[in-house]
Protein backbone atom coordinates (compact mmCIF):
# COMPACT_ATOMS: atom_id res chain seq x y z
CA UNK A 1 0.00 0.00 0.00
CA UNK A 2 2.64 2.47 1.11
CA UNK A 3 4.95 1.36 -1.69
CA UNK A 4 2.28 1.78 -4.36
CA UNK A 5 1.31 5.19 -2.95
CA UNK A 6 4.93 6.29 -3.03
CA UNK A 7 5.41 4.98 -6.55
CA UNK A 8 2.30 6.71 -7.87
CA UNK A 9 3.30 9.98 -6.24
CA UNK A 10 6.75 9.55 -7.70
CA UNK A 11 5.38 8.96 -11.20
CA UNK A 12 3.16 12.01 -11.17
CA UNK A 13 5.97 14.12 -9.70
CA UNK A 14 8.28 12.92 -12.44
CA UNK A 15 5.81 13.95 -15.12
CA UNK A 16 5.37 17.33 -13.43
CA UNK A 17 9.10 17.81 -13.08
CA UNK A 18 9.62 16.80 -16.69
CA UNK A 19 7.13 19.36 -17.93
CA UNK A 20 8.55 22.01 -15.61
CA UNK A 21 12.09 21.43 -16.83
CA UNK A 22 10.85 21.56 -20.41
CA UNK A 23 9.40 24.97 -19.63
CA UNK A 24 12.56 26.16 -17.91
CA UNK A 25 14.72 25.07 -20.83
CA UNK A 26 12.42 26.60 -23.42
CA UNK A 27 12.15 29.80 -21.39
CA UNK A 28 15.92 29.99 -21.49
CA UNK A 29 16.10 29.32 -25.23
CA UNK A 30 12.94 30.94 -26.55
CA UNK A 31 11.93 33.68 -24.12
CA UNK A 32 15.39 35.15 -23.67
CA UNK A 33 15.28 38.80 -24.51
CA UNK A 34 18.54 39.79 -22.83
CA UNK A 35 19.05 42.89 -20.73
CA UNK A 36 16.50 45.65 -21.13
CA UNK A 37 16.60 49.18 -19.80
CA UNK A 38 13.53 50.84 -18.35
CA UNK A 39 13.82 54.61 -18.14
CA UNK A 40 11.42 56.06 -15.57
CA UNK A 41 10.31 59.71 -15.68
CA UNK A 42 13.52 60.53 -17.60
CA UNK A 43 15.59 60.52 -14.42
CA UNK A 44 15.99 56.95 -13.30
CA UNK A 45 17.06 53.85 -15.19
CA UNK A 46 16.55 50.21 -14.30
CA UNK A 47 18.33 47.37 -16.03
CA UNK A 48 16.30 44.17 -15.95
CA UNK A 49 16.25 40.76 -17.56
CA UNK A 50 13.62 41.03 -20.31
CA UNK A 51 10.72 38.65 -20.85
CA UNK A 52 8.28 39.41 -18.04
CA UNK A 53 5.52 41.97 -17.77
CA UNK A 54 6.26 45.53 -16.76
CA UNK A 55 4.14 45.42 -13.59
CA UNK A 56 6.04 42.56 -12.01
CA UNK A 57 9.39 44.05 -13.07
CA UNK A 58 8.53 47.32 -11.35
CA UNK A 59 7.29 45.51 -8.25
CA UNK A 60 10.57 43.60 -8.09
CA UNK A 61 12.32 46.98 -8.10
CA UNK A 62 10.11 48.17 -5.22
CA UNK A 63 8.04 50.52 -7.35
CA UNK A 64 4.48 49.72 -6.39
CA UNK A 65 1.84 50.32 -9.06
CA UNK A 66 -1.64 49.71 -7.60
CA UNK A 67 -3.12 46.46 -8.91
CA UNK A 68 -6.04 44.45 -7.57
CA UNK A 69 -6.28 41.49 -9.93
CA UNK A 70 -2.63 40.45 -9.86
CA UNK A 71 -1.86 41.01 -13.52
CA UNK A 72 -4.79 39.36 -15.28
CA UNK A 73 -6.15 42.46 -17.00
CA UNK A 74 -9.42 42.47 -15.11
CA UNK A 75 -9.11 45.40 -12.70
CA UNK A 76 -7.59 48.06 -14.97
CA UNK A 77 -5.75 49.80 -12.12
CA UNK A 78 -2.11 49.34 -13.09
CA UNK A 79 -2.04 52.15 -15.65
CA UNK A 80 1.26 53.81 -16.53
CA UNK A 81 2.34 55.90 -19.48
CA UNK A 82 4.70 54.05 -21.81
CA UNK A 83 6.32 56.51 -24.21
CA UNK A 84 8.51 54.08 -26.16
CA UNK A 85 8.90 50.39 -26.71
CA UNK A 86 5.57 48.92 -25.64
CA UNK A 87 4.42 47.81 -29.06
CA UNK A 88 0.82 48.17 -30.25
CA UNK A 89 -2.11 48.35 -27.86
CA UNK A 90 -3.32 44.85 -26.96
CA UNK A 91 -6.96 43.77 -27.11
CA UNK A 92 -6.80 42.86 -23.42
CA UNK A 93 -6.10 46.50 -22.55
CA UNK A 94 -8.64 48.20 -24.79
CA UNK A 95 -11.70 47.87 -22.54
CA UNK A 96 -9.92 49.72 -19.72
CA UNK A 97 -8.55 52.71 -21.60
CA UNK A 98 -10.49 55.77 -22.63
CA UNK A 99 -9.87 57.55 -25.91
CA UNK A 100 -7.75 60.23 -24.23
CA UNK A 101 -5.74 57.59 -22.40
CA UNK A 102 -5.02 55.68 -25.59
CA UNK A 103 -3.89 58.86 -27.28
CA UNK A 104 -1.55 59.75 -24.43
CA UNK A 105 0.10 56.30 -24.43
CA UNK A 106 -1.44 55.02 -21.20
CA UNK A 107 -1.09 51.24 -20.96
CA UNK A 108 -1.88 48.50 -18.47
CA UNK A 109 1.52 47.66 -17.04
CA UNK A 110 0.51 44.04 -16.38
CA UNK A 111 -0.02 43.49 -20.13
CA UNK A 112 3.04 45.31 -21.45
CA UNK A 113 5.91 42.88 -21.83
CA UNK A 114 9.46 44.08 -21.36
CA UNK A 115 11.19 42.80 -24.50
CA UNK A 116 13.24 45.84 -25.37
CA UNK A 117 14.18 49.19 -23.85
CA UNK A 118 11.23 51.16 -22.51
CA UNK A 119 10.59 54.76 -21.57
CA UNK A 120 7.79 55.14 -19.05
CA UNK A 121 6.15 57.82 -16.91
CA UNK A 122 4.89 57.01 -13.43
CA UNK A 123 2.99 59.59 -11.31
CA UNK A 124 5.42 61.06 -8.82
CA UNK A 125 3.08 60.23 -5.95
CA UNK A 126 3.39 56.49 -6.66
CA UNK A 127 7.17 56.73 -6.63
CA UNK A 128 7.15 58.43 -3.28
CA UNK A 129 5.15 55.74 -1.45
CA UNK A 130 7.70 54.26 0.91
CA UNK A 131 8.56 53.62 4.51
CA UNK A 132 9.68 56.54 6.67
CA UNK A 133 11.30 56.41 10.07
CA UNK A 134 10.40 59.33 12.32
CA UNK A 135 10.89 60.62 15.83
CA UNK A 136 7.88 61.58 17.91
CA UNK A 137 8.66 65.22 18.60
CA UNK A 138 5.71 66.28 20.69
CA UNK A 139 2.38 64.97 21.95
CA UNK A 140 -0.34 67.57 22.58
CA UNK A 141 -3.61 66.90 24.40
CA UNK A 142 -6.43 68.38 22.34
CA UNK A 143 -9.34 66.93 24.34
CA UNK A 144 -9.65 64.15 26.88
CA UNK A 145 -9.49 61.51 24.12
CA UNK A 146 -7.88 63.26 21.16
CA UNK A 147 -4.17 63.99 20.90
CA UNK A 148 -1.96 65.56 18.28
CA UNK A 149 1.26 63.69 17.50
CA UNK A 150 4.01 65.73 15.87
CA UNK A 151 6.53 63.50 14.07
CA UNK A 152 9.85 64.60 12.59
CA UNK A 153 10.91 62.57 9.56
CA UNK A 154 14.36 61.04 9.97
CA UNK A 155 14.92 58.75 6.98
CA UNK A 156 13.94 59.83 4.33
CA UNK A 157 14.03 63.36 5.69
CA UNK A 158 11.12 64.79 3.71
CA UNK A 159 7.82 63.57 2.25
CA UNK A 160 5.98 64.99 -0.75
CA UNK A 161 2.27 64.57 -0.28
CA UNK A 162 -0.97 66.09 -1.44
CA UNK A 163 -3.08 67.74 1.29
CA UNK A 164 -5.78 65.20 2.15
CA UNK A 165 -3.41 62.23 1.89
CA UNK A 166 -3.00 59.80 4.76
CA UNK A 167 -0.13 57.72 6.11
CA UNK A 168 -0.12 54.35 7.80
CA UNK A 169 1.37 54.21 11.26
CA UNK A 170 3.08 51.03 12.33
CA UNK A 171 2.28 49.79 15.82
CA UNK A 172 5.02 47.48 17.07
CA UNK A 173 4.29 44.47 19.26
CA UNK A 174 3.53 45.62 22.79
CA UNK A 175 1.81 44.20 25.86
CA UNK A 176 -0.93 41.82 24.80
CA UNK A 177 -0.72 42.76 21.14
CA UNK A 178 1.30 39.99 19.51
CA UNK A 179 1.72 41.35 16.02
CA UNK A 180 2.53 44.54 14.22
CA UNK A 181 -0.50 46.39 12.90
CA UNK A 182 -0.85 49.34 10.54
CA UNK A 183 -3.53 52.00 10.90
CA UNK A 184 -4.25 54.89 8.57
CA UNK A 185 -4.30 58.49 9.80
CA UNK A 186 -4.72 61.63 7.73
CA UNK A 187 -1.89 64.14 7.68
CA UNK A 188 -2.85 67.27 9.63
CA UNK A 189 0.27 69.38 9.30
CA UNK A 190 1.30 72.36 7.20
CA UNK A 191 2.56 70.93 3.85
CA UNK A 192 5.37 73.48 3.69
CA UNK A 193 7.00 71.76 6.65
CA UNK A 194 8.15 68.85 4.52
CA UNK A 195 10.02 67.18 7.37
CA UNK A 196 7.04 67.22 9.75
CA UNK A 197 4.00 64.95 9.85
CA UNK A 198 1.28 65.76 12.37
CA UNK A 199 -1.46 63.26 13.10
CA UNK A 200 -4.65 63.82 15.08
CA UNK A 201 -5.67 60.59 16.79
CA UNK A 202 -8.73 59.82 18.87
CA UNK A 203 -8.48 57.04 21.45
CA UNK A 204 -10.60 54.07 20.39
CA UNK A 205 -11.38 52.01 23.51
CA UNK A 206 -9.65 48.67 23.01
CA UNK A 207 -8.01 49.85 19.76
CA UNK A 208 -4.55 48.34 19.28
CA UNK A 209 -2.91 51.28 17.58
CA UNK A 210 -4.63 54.13 19.43
CA UNK A 211 -4.00 52.47 22.80
CA UNK A 212 -0.36 52.18 21.84
CA UNK A 213 -0.21 55.84 20.84
CA UNK A 214 -1.96 57.04 23.99
CA UNK A 215 -0.33 54.81 26.61
CA UNK A 216 3.02 53.65 25.28
CA UNK A 217 4.31 56.16 22.79
CA UNK A 218 6.45 58.85 24.45
CA UNK A 219 8.03 62.01 23.14
CA UNK A 220 11.42 61.12 21.63
CA UNK A 221 10.40 57.59 20.60
CA UNK A 222 11.03 56.27 17.11
CA UNK A 223 7.95 55.76 14.92
CA UNK A 224 7.62 54.09 11.52
CA UNK A 225 5.07 55.23 8.96
CA UNK A 226 4.49 54.53 5.28
CA UNK A 227 2.66 56.43 2.60
CA UNK A 228 1.39 58.81 1.45
CA UNK A 229 -1.85 57.37 0.12
CA UNK A 230 -5.36 58.42 -0.72
CA UNK A 231 -7.53 60.27 -3.19
CA UNK A 232 -9.19 62.76 -0.83
CA UNK A 233 -7.99 66.14 -2.09
CA UNK A 234 -9.14 69.54 -3.30
CA UNK A 235 -10.55 69.58 -6.82
CA UNK A 236 -9.06 72.10 -9.27
CA UNK A 237 -12.35 73.91 -9.82
CA UNK A 238 -13.08 77.24 -8.19
CA UNK A 239 -16.49 76.24 -6.82
CA UNK A 240 -17.25 77.38 -3.26
CA UNK A 241 -16.84 74.63 -0.69
CA UNK A 242 -18.50 73.21 2.39
CA UNK A 243 -16.24 71.28 4.78
CA UNK A 244 -17.87 69.02 7.36
CA UNK A 245 -15.84 67.18 9.97
CA UNK A 246 -16.07 65.76 13.45
CA UNK A 247 -13.45 64.71 16.02
CA UNK A 248 -10.17 63.65 14.44
CA UNK A 249 -11.74 64.36 11.03
CA UNK A 250 -10.20 67.78 11.67
CA UNK A 251 -6.86 66.41 10.39
CA UNK A 252 -7.15 66.53 6.58
CA UNK A 253 -9.18 69.76 6.75
CA UNK A 254 -6.43 71.48 8.72
CA UNK A 255 -3.84 70.31 6.20
CA UNK A 256 -5.98 71.52 3.29
CA UNK A 257 -6.56 74.91 4.97
CA UNK A 258 -2.82 75.34 5.52
CA UNK A 259 -2.29 74.51 1.87
CA UNK A 260 -4.93 77.04 0.76
CA UNK A 261 -3.25 79.68 2.86
CA UNK A 262 0.20 78.83 1.44
CA UNK A 263 -0.99 78.95 -2.16
CA UNK A 264 -3.23 82.02 -1.73
CA UNK A 265 -6.28 80.01 -2.84
CA UNK A 266 -9.24 82.43 -2.97
CA UNK A 267 -12.05 79.82 -2.93
CA UNK A 268 -14.89 80.30 -0.50
CA UNK A 269 -14.98 77.78 2.36
CA UNK A 270 -17.49 77.24 5.14
CA UNK A 271 -16.22 74.69 7.62
CA UNK A 272 -18.73 72.99 9.95
CA UNK A 273 -16.95 71.19 12.75
CA UNK A 274 -18.97 69.14 15.21
CA UNK A 275 -18.27 68.00 18.77
CA UNK A 276 -20.50 66.53 21.43
CA UNK A 277 -19.56 68.74 24.41
CA UNK A 278 -17.83 72.08 24.76
CA UNK A 279 -14.82 70.39 26.34
CA UNK A 280 -14.50 68.19 23.24
CA UNK A 281 -14.09 71.14 20.90
CA UNK A 282 -10.51 71.94 19.87
CA UNK A 283 -8.32 74.10 17.62
CA UNK A 284 -10.97 76.85 17.56
CA UNK A 285 -8.35 79.62 17.95
CA UNK A 286 -6.32 78.21 15.08
CA UNK A 287 -9.41 78.07 12.85
CA UNK A 288 -10.29 81.66 13.81
CA UNK A 289 -6.79 82.66 12.65
CA UNK A 290 -7.49 81.02 9.29
CA UNK A 291 -10.62 83.19 9.06
CA UNK A 292 -8.42 86.29 8.96
CA UNK A 293 -5.65 84.72 6.87
CA UNK A 294 -7.74 83.13 4.10
CA UNK A 295 -9.66 85.09 1.49
CA UNK A 296 -13.14 83.80 2.27
CA UNK A 297 -13.25 81.30 5.14
CA UNK A 298 -15.80 80.86 7.90
CA UNK A 299 -15.48 78.35 10.74
CA UNK A 300 -18.73 77.13 12.31
CA UNK A 301 -18.18 75.17 15.51
CA UNK A 302 -21.22 73.09 16.45
CA UNK A 303 -21.82 71.49 19.87
CA UNK A 304 -24.38 68.69 19.92
CA UNK A 305 -25.29 68.51 23.63
CA UNK A 306 -23.76 71.32 25.70
CA UNK A 307 -23.97 70.56 29.45
CA UNK A 308 -26.16 73.05 31.34
CA UNK A 309 -23.13 74.53 33.11
CA UNK A 310 -21.02 74.90 29.99
CA UNK A 311 -20.77 78.35 28.48
CA UNK A 312 -21.35 78.11 24.71
CA UNK A 313 -22.35 80.89 22.42
CA UNK A 314 -22.06 79.17 19.05
CA UNK A 315 -24.28 76.76 17.19
CA UNK A 316 -25.85 73.83 18.98
CA UNK A 317 -27.32 70.62 17.65
CA UNK A 318 -26.02 68.14 15.11
CA UNK A 319 -23.53 69.36 12.56
CA UNK A 320 -25.96 68.38 9.78
CA UNK A 321 -28.65 70.59 11.33
CA UNK A 322 -26.23 73.52 11.31
CA UNK A 323 -25.59 72.91 7.61
CA UNK A 324 -29.32 72.81 6.90
CA UNK A 325 -29.84 76.06 8.80
CA UNK A 326 -27.13 77.89 6.85
CA UNK A 327 -28.29 77.07 3.32
CA UNK A 328 -31.51 77.21 1.35
CA UNK A 329 -29.83 75.45 -1.52
CA UNK A 330 -26.19 74.91 -2.40
CA UNK A 331 -26.14 73.37 -5.86
CA UNK A 332 -23.01 75.27 -6.94
CA UNK A 333 -21.01 74.09 -3.92
CA UNK A 334 -18.56 71.24 -3.53
CA UNK A 335 -18.50 69.36 -0.23
CA UNK A 336 -15.58 67.74 1.61
CA UNK A 337 -16.38 65.44 4.52
CA UNK A 338 -14.23 63.62 7.03
CA UNK A 339 -15.48 61.74 10.05
CA UNK A 340 -17.36 58.69 11.24
CA UNK A 341 -19.43 56.71 8.70
CA UNK A 342 -22.64 57.75 10.49
CA UNK A 343 -21.81 61.43 10.26
CA UNK A 344 -20.77 61.16 6.63
CA UNK A 345 -23.87 59.28 5.54
CA UNK A 346 -26.13 61.77 7.32
CA UNK A 347 -24.20 64.68 5.79
CA UNK A 348 -24.41 63.28 2.26
CA UNK A 349 -28.18 63.02 2.64
CA UNK A 350 -28.46 66.64 3.75
CA UNK A 351 -26.10 67.87 1.04
CA UNK A 352 -27.98 65.99 -1.70
CA UNK A 353 -31.20 67.62 -0.44
CA UNK A 354 -29.49 71.01 -0.79
CA UNK A 355 -28.91 70.21 -4.45
CA UNK A 356 -25.21 69.27 -4.46
CA UNK A 357 -24.39 66.72 -7.15
CA UNK A 358 -23.10 63.37 -6.00
CA UNK A 359 -19.82 63.81 -7.88
CA UNK A 360 -19.20 67.09 -6.05
CA UNK A 361 -19.22 65.40 -2.64
CA UNK A 362 -15.82 64.08 -1.57
CA UNK A 363 -15.31 62.19 1.66
CA UNK A 364 -12.83 60.32 3.79
CA UNK A 365 -14.70 57.81 5.93
CA UNK A 366 -13.16 56.35 9.06
CA UNK A 367 -13.28 52.61 8.45
Amino acid sequence: MIASTLISVLIVSTIGAGLASLLVVSEHLIANYGQCRIRINEDRELTVQGGKDLLSMLTAEKIFIPSACGGRATCGMCKVKVLDGAGPLLPTEEPYLSKQERESNVRLSCQVKVRNDLRILIPQELLSIREYTCRCERIVDLTHDIKLFRLTLVEPATMDYIPGHYVQLRTPKYGKSREEVYRAYSIASDPTEKDIIELIIRLVPGGICTTYCFEHLKEGDAVTINGPYGDFRLSDTDAPMIFIAGGSGMAPMRCILHHMKNTGNPRKVIYFFGANKVKEMFMVDEMRRFESELADFRFVAVIANPDPGEAWEGETGLVTQAVQKSFQEASDYEAYLCGSPGMIDASIKVLRDLGIAEQSIFFDKFA
Partner: protein, 200 residues
Protein backbone atom coordinates in the same frame (compact mmCIF):
# COMPACT_ATOMS: atom_id res chain seq x y z
CA UNK B 1 -16.14 0.51 -34.40
CA UNK B 2 -15.07 1.21 -37.96
CA UNK B 3 -13.29 4.42 -38.83
CA UNK B 4 -16.28 5.75 -40.73
CA UNK B 5 -18.59 5.15 -37.81
CA UNK B 6 -16.13 6.85 -35.49
CA UNK B 7 -15.89 9.90 -37.69
CA UNK B 8 -19.64 10.26 -37.91
CA UNK B 9 -19.84 9.74 -34.14
CA UNK B 10 -17.22 12.50 -33.77
CA UNK B 11 -19.30 14.82 -35.92
CA UNK B 12 -22.41 14.19 -33.84
CA UNK B 13 -20.49 14.80 -30.62
CA UNK B 14 -19.03 17.96 -32.12
CA UNK B 15 -22.43 19.40 -33.06
CA UNK B 16 -23.88 18.40 -29.70
CA UNK B 17 -20.98 20.10 -27.90
CA UNK B 18 -21.61 23.29 -29.82
CA UNK B 19 -25.34 23.51 -29.30
CA UNK B 20 -27.19 21.20 -26.94
CA UNK B 21 -24.34 20.48 -24.55
CA UNK B 22 -22.62 23.86 -24.83
CA UNK B 23 -19.91 23.81 -22.20
CA UNK B 24 -20.64 27.38 -21.16
CA UNK B 25 -24.39 27.65 -21.44
CA UNK B 26 -25.34 24.12 -20.42
CA UNK B 27 -22.60 23.43 -17.88
CA UNK B 28 -21.66 27.00 -16.93
CA UNK B 29 -17.94 26.34 -17.14
CA UNK B 30 -15.46 29.06 -18.04
CA UNK B 31 -17.66 31.85 -16.73
CA UNK B 32 -14.95 34.18 -15.36
CA UNK B 33 -13.34 35.10 -18.68
CA UNK B 34 -16.79 34.92 -20.27
CA UNK B 35 -17.95 37.77 -18.04
CA UNK B 36 -14.62 39.57 -17.85
CA UNK B 37 -13.72 39.74 -21.54
CA UNK B 38 -17.13 39.98 -23.23
CA UNK B 39 -17.26 43.76 -23.20
CA UNK B 40 -15.87 44.17 -26.70
CA UNK B 41 -16.35 41.97 -29.74
CA UNK B 42 -12.71 42.24 -30.76
CA UNK B 43 -11.37 40.97 -27.45
CA UNK B 44 -14.07 38.29 -27.26
CA UNK B 45 -13.09 37.09 -30.73
CA UNK B 46 -9.42 36.72 -29.78
CA UNK B 47 -10.19 34.99 -26.53
CA UNK B 48 -12.71 32.69 -28.21
CA UNK B 49 -10.20 31.60 -30.84
CA UNK B 50 -7.57 31.01 -28.16
CA UNK B 51 -10.05 28.85 -26.23
CA UNK B 52 -10.85 26.78 -29.34
CA UNK B 53 -7.14 26.18 -29.93
CA UNK B 54 -6.19 25.42 -26.34
CA UNK B 55 -9.26 23.32 -25.64
CA UNK B 56 -8.79 21.12 -28.69
CA UNK B 57 -5.07 20.62 -28.09
CA UNK B 58 -5.24 20.00 -24.35
CA UNK B 59 -8.16 17.57 -24.59
CA UNK B 60 -6.11 15.54 -27.05
CA UNK B 61 -2.92 15.75 -24.98
CA UNK B 62 -4.86 14.74 -21.90
CA UNK B 63 -6.49 11.86 -23.78
CA UNK B 64 -3.04 10.58 -24.66
CA UNK B 65 -1.73 11.09 -21.13
CA UNK B 66 -4.77 9.38 -19.65
CA UNK B 67 -4.85 6.33 -21.91
CA UNK B 68 -1.11 5.80 -22.32
CA UNK B 69 0.20 6.84 -18.90
CA UNK B 70 -2.47 6.83 -16.23
CA UNK B 71 -4.53 3.80 -17.29
CA UNK B 72 -1.57 1.40 -17.78
CA UNK B 73 -0.17 2.47 -14.40
CA UNK B 74 -3.57 2.25 -12.71
CA UNK B 75 -3.35 5.88 -11.62
CA UNK B 76 -6.63 7.17 -13.08
CA UNK B 77 -7.39 9.03 -9.86
CA UNK B 78 -4.41 11.29 -10.51
CA UNK B 79 -6.03 12.73 -13.60
CA UNK B 80 -7.09 15.94 -11.86
CA UNK B 81 -3.53 16.86 -11.00
CA UNK B 82 -1.98 15.62 -14.20
CA UNK B 83 -4.51 17.34 -16.45
CA UNK B 84 -3.95 20.66 -14.71
CA UNK B 85 -0.19 20.35 -14.99
CA UNK B 86 -0.40 19.48 -18.66
CA UNK B 87 -2.79 22.33 -19.43
CA UNK B 88 -0.64 24.86 -17.60
CA UNK B 89 2.59 23.70 -19.18
CA UNK B 90 1.08 23.57 -22.65
CA UNK B 91 -0.39 27.05 -22.42
CA UNK B 92 2.86 28.52 -21.10
CA UNK B 93 4.87 26.83 -23.79
CA UNK B 94 2.59 27.95 -26.60
CA UNK B 95 2.56 31.50 -25.26
CA UNK B 96 6.35 31.61 -25.19
CA UNK B 97 6.69 30.29 -28.73
CA UNK B 98 4.02 32.55 -30.19
CA UNK B 99 5.38 35.60 -28.40
CA UNK B 100 8.83 35.01 -29.79
CA UNK B 101 8.12 33.97 -33.35
CA UNK B 102 4.89 35.65 -34.33
CA UNK B 103 4.32 39.08 -32.80
CA UNK B 104 1.18 39.52 -34.88
CA UNK B 105 -0.36 36.27 -33.69
CA UNK B 106 0.72 37.10 -30.16
CA UNK B 107 -1.02 40.42 -30.29
CA UNK B 108 -4.23 38.88 -31.61
CA UNK B 109 -4.36 35.64 -29.60
CA UNK B 110 -1.29 35.20 -27.44
CA UNK B 111 -2.22 37.83 -24.90
CA UNK B 112 -5.27 35.78 -23.99
CA UNK B 113 -3.39 32.60 -23.29
CA UNK B 114 -2.50 33.37 -19.66
CA UNK B 115 -6.14 34.28 -19.04
CA UNK B 116 -7.31 30.80 -19.95
CA UNK B 117 -4.70 28.67 -18.22
CA UNK B 118 -7.07 28.35 -15.31
CA UNK B 119 -10.28 28.48 -17.33
CA UNK B 120 -12.44 25.70 -15.91
CA UNK B 121 -13.99 24.97 -19.33
CA UNK B 122 -10.61 23.62 -20.44
CA UNK B 123 -10.27 21.37 -17.41
CA UNK B 124 -13.97 20.44 -17.55
CA UNK B 125 -13.73 19.27 -21.14
CA UNK B 126 -10.80 17.01 -20.30
CA UNK B 127 -12.70 15.46 -17.40
CA UNK B 128 -15.90 14.97 -19.43
CA UNK B 129 -13.81 13.30 -22.11
CA UNK B 130 -12.76 10.69 -19.52
CA UNK B 131 -16.19 10.28 -17.91
CA UNK B 132 -17.90 9.80 -21.26
CA UNK B 133 -15.23 7.38 -22.41
CA UNK B 134 -14.65 8.99 -25.83
CA UNK B 135 -12.25 7.42 -28.31
CA UNK B 136 -9.40 9.52 -29.72
CA UNK B 137 -11.23 10.49 -32.87
CA UNK B 138 -14.42 11.32 -31.03
CA UNK B 139 -12.32 13.38 -28.62
CA UNK B 140 -11.10 15.50 -31.53
CA UNK B 141 -14.70 16.29 -32.38
CA UNK B 142 -15.58 16.90 -28.77
CA UNK B 143 -12.66 19.27 -28.11
CA UNK B 144 -13.29 21.24 -31.25
CA UNK B 145 -17.04 21.39 -30.62
CA UNK B 146 -16.65 22.53 -27.02
CA UNK B 147 -14.26 25.26 -28.09
CA UNK B 148 -16.50 26.45 -30.89
CA UNK B 149 -19.50 26.38 -28.54
CA UNK B 150 -17.64 28.57 -26.03
CA UNK B 151 -16.55 30.86 -28.85
CA UNK B 152 -20.12 31.26 -30.10
CA UNK B 153 -21.43 31.97 -26.63
CA UNK B 154 -18.89 34.70 -25.87
CA UNK B 155 -19.32 36.29 -29.30
CA UNK B 156 -23.07 36.42 -28.81
CA UNK B 157 -22.61 37.90 -25.36
CA UNK B 158 -20.12 40.49 -26.60
CA UNK B 159 -22.55 41.52 -29.32
CA UNK B 160 -25.33 41.96 -26.79
CA UNK B 161 -23.11 43.81 -24.32
CA UNK B 162 -21.90 46.27 -26.94
CA UNK B 163 -25.51 47.30 -27.39
CA UNK B 164 -26.06 47.38 -23.64
CA UNK B 165 -23.28 49.94 -23.28
CA UNK B 166 -25.63 52.67 -24.44
CA UNK B 167 -28.72 51.34 -22.66
CA UNK B 168 -29.93 52.50 -19.27
CA UNK B 169 -29.53 49.66 -16.81
CA UNK B 170 -30.58 49.89 -13.15
CA UNK B 171 -27.46 50.66 -11.14
CA UNK B 172 -27.52 47.49 -9.07
CA UNK B 173 -27.53 45.35 -12.19
CA UNK B 174 -24.76 47.05 -14.13
CA UNK B 175 -21.72 45.01 -15.16
CA UNK B 176 -21.61 41.37 -14.06
CA UNK B 177 -25.22 41.40 -12.78
CA UNK B 178 -26.92 42.01 -16.10
CA UNK B 179 -24.32 39.81 -17.83
CA UNK B 180 -25.28 36.84 -15.67
CA UNK B 181 -28.98 37.42 -16.33
CA UNK B 182 -28.31 37.54 -20.07
CA UNK B 183 -26.21 34.38 -19.80
CA UNK B 184 -29.19 32.70 -18.14
CA UNK B 185 -31.52 33.78 -20.93
CA UNK B 186 -29.03 32.59 -23.55
CA UNK B 187 -28.78 29.26 -21.75
CA UNK B 188 -32.54 28.87 -21.95
CA UNK B 189 -32.41 29.62 -25.67
CA UNK B 190 -29.74 26.97 -26.10
CA UNK B 191 -31.90 24.46 -24.22
CA UNK B 192 -34.30 25.01 -27.09
CA UNK B 193 -31.78 23.28 -29.36
CA UNK B 194 -32.02 20.06 -27.39
CA UNK B 195 -35.79 20.25 -27.83
CA UNK B 196 -35.24 20.43 -31.58
CA UNK B 197 -33.07 17.32 -31.50
CA UNK B 198 -35.47 15.36 -29.32
CA UNK B 199 -38.50 16.27 -31.39
CA UNK B 200 -36.95 14.79 -34.49
Amino acid sequence: MSLGAEVSQALIVCVAAIFTQNILLAYFLGLCPFIGVSREIKAAFGLGLAVIFVLTCTVLLNWLAYHYVLVPLGLEFFRFILFIIIIAAFVQFVEMVVERYSPFLYQQLGVFLPLITVNCAIMGASLFMVIRDYSFIVTIGYGLGSGVGWFLAIMAMAGIRQRLATDRIPRGLQGPGITLIIAGLMAMAFIGFSGVLQGR
